[in-house]
């Protein structure tokens, strides 16, 4: 493939305009080919497999039978599905909290102060960590007996007896979300920082001359121009958190009860623990449609410019 493109490039020099466009199109498709091929193999074909399977009854030892919409029907009355869906939406809904904190930190780090690189590093350091390790770290932080969080809360007399964070129906999901935000915060901040530094300084100067105060400048200039970056944060944050299988799997395993069950963990359990790959496929399809819809809505909301990260 590489040779082909090189030759296409060479011939390109001595070609007519009309042939040039065809050749260019060929070149463009050649450039796209490796990525497209990988996505075809590992995203699109598996998705198609899921779509087909969702209309069938199948398990590794039983031949497939077409059953129409039965799997989808079952979802309507499956309480665990609704609980996982709700938990998933809850996690997506918490993404803006992380983004807001990250935005505040980005604004501060963007200020002209000494040691900003140190702060930036400290805040970003949690992102490159292995998620399994993050889960282990936070399980230890939340530990009922000797976890730091309970220790601090007890020392300050905020609580009388230790809170069983990861075993409590009330606290388990927020605890997982806290760990997730801790890991993602640095990433959000870097993206937002990039966005901030791309805002031309003269806009602020003009606004200042017009007498706009800092808060108005933030609302009128910073926030609107930051929209694409915020969109990117939201989409990546959403994908990262709803697919944070490792985190939930190691921290709580979806429990207690179904308190931290999210759609990806449920899909995994349906398939591999209950051997219900057919039904799991139907849940996957619904999950996929849900993510697409949310991403599309977020894109519309941010001004319909998906993918434009750094510039207009």
């Amino acid at each position: 493939m590489v040779t082909a493109t090189v030759e296409a490039g060479r011939r390109h020099r001595s070609s007519f305009i009309a042939r040039k466009t065809t050749r260019q199109a060929v070149l463009i498709w050649c450039f796209l080919a490796p990525s497209l091929l990988i996505f075809l193999l590992y995203r699109i074909l598996p998705l198609a497999w899921n779509v087909i399977l969702s209309f069938q009854a199948w398990s590794p030892l039983r031949p497939a039978v077409w059953i129409g919409f039965d799997n989808y029907d079952e979802m309507l009355t499956d309480e665990v599905f609704w609980q996982s869906l709700w938990n998933t939406l809850y996690i997506i809904g918490s993404a803006p909290i992380g983004i807001a904190i990250a935005l505040a930190l980005a604004l501060l780090v963007n200020a002209d102060i000494r040691g900003r690189d140190v702060y930036r590093t400290a805040i970003f350091l949690s992102y490159p960590l292995m998620t399994v390790a993050v889960a282990i770290i936070w399980r230890w932080m939340f530990d009922e007996r000797v976890g730091l969080i309970n220790y601090v809360a007890r020392s300050l007399h905020l609580v009388d007896s230790p809170i069983q964070f990861l075993n409590s129906f009330t606290w388990a999901l927020p605890s997982v979300i806290a760990a997730n935000i801790w890991q993602m915060l640095g990433f959000y901040m870097i993206i937002l920082l990039t966005g901030l530094q791309n805002i031309p300084g003269n806009l602020y100067e003009a606004a200042e001359i017009d007498g706009a105060n800092a808060f108005r400048r933030f609302l009128r200039i910073t926030l609107p121009l930051l929209k694409p970056s915020i969109f990117l944060c939201f989409v990546i944050g959403m994908l990262n958190s709803v697919t944070s299988f490792d985190l939930v799997y190691v921290m709580t395993g979806g429990g207690p009860g179904r308190a931290t069950e999210i759609l990806v963990t449920y899909i995994y359990k349906l398939g591999f623990v209950q051997t219900r790959f057919d039904y799991a496929a139907a849940v996957t399809v619904v999950f996929f449609i849900m993510l697409i819809t949310i991403a599309w809505a977020a894109n519309r909301f941010s001004g319909g410019n998906a993918g434009a990260v750094e510039r207009d």
Partner: protein
């Protein structure tokens, strides 16, 4: 810019950095603790610290082998990502028929949860004859959508006049990418390297399903294995955590100037 007091900014950032770093300290502390790690109240500073748990880990699993496997897979992934994503990103800066379709396709590919694709992915990898191999471990991550868009955005920022000038000079498209665009897209490259490294280094479920022989296991598998038979009853688990995380953090700290600065300031230069 008007002058304003700096100390509140420092204060807030100090508190934020503290909160972000405390978990690191807590794990590090546990991993060198000499006392029973379940005594209450926990000691903030470890009493008679020692490295016993680290020795424990070293002998409990073939750490060096797992480490090497993780490095090989990550290097393959990074190399493929930089090349393929740059090519795809460049293609997307051009107008062509079907571009919107490709864009839509890429965006929707992001939404396919990996956990649901294990079985078909496994079968496909098997058909390619890549089971239990480094290439098979790395292949699904050879191109990542987010990174393609990072390249596209970076290339979009290159002034069109520069490309036209290069064309008039008779440079081929291939050369334009590598000689003109890439040097201007250092930030995108840095982002690609660091992100693909992180994703590949952290991958857990795929190697779990994919690898059969003990020689092919990667570090996250070692971590999960360790978690299971030690439960969290000894400090060794935390020593292992530190050993797994240290290389990544070290790499990041060494290269962070290029990474973050490239990432945050590169685009404005374009």
């Amino acid at each position: 810019m008007r002058h304003y007091p700096r100390w509140p900014i420092h204060l807030i950032l100090l508190v934020a950095s503290f909160i972000m770093l405390v978990p690191f300290y807590w794990v590090l502390k546990t991993s060198v603790s000499g006392e029973n790690i379940f005594t209450y109240p926990p000691n903030i500073i470890p009493r008679n610290p020692h490295l016993f748990y680290y020795v424990d880990v070293w002998y409990a699993i073939p750490f060096a082998r797992y480490f090497l496997n993780s490095v090989i897979v990550s290097v393959l992934t990074i190399a493929a990502n930089v090349i393929f994503n740059a090519m795809a990103g460049y293609a997307l800066t051009r107008g062509f028929r079907g571009k919107n379709l490709v864009l839509m396709l890429f965006l929707s590919c992001m939404m396919v949860p990996f956990q649901a694709t294990i079985i078909p992915a496994y079968l496909i990898t098997g058909k390619l004859g890549l089971l239990d191999s480094y290439l098979g471990l790395a292949l699904p991550q050879f191109s990542t959508i987010i990174c393609i868009f990072v390249f596209k955005a970076s290339f979009d920022a290159v002034p069109k006049s520069l490309i036209d000038a290069a064309k008039i000079d008779g440079l081929s498209e291939w050369r334009i990418i590598w000689k003109v665009m890439m040097p201007l897209a250092k930030s995108a490259m840095a982002t690609n390297i660091i992100l693909s490294f992180i994703w590949s280094w952290n991958n857990f479920l795929w190697p779990l399903i994919m690898t059969r022989s003990a020689d092919m296991q990667t570090l996250p598998l070692g971590l999960s294995r360790f978690l299971s038979y030690q439960e969290d009853t000894t400090g060794a688990l935390y020593a292992f955590c530190v050993m797994v995380l240290a290389p990544g953090i070290l790499l990041f700290l060494l290269a962070q100037k290029e990474f973050i600065q490239g990432l945050t300031s590169g685009a404005t230069k374009g």
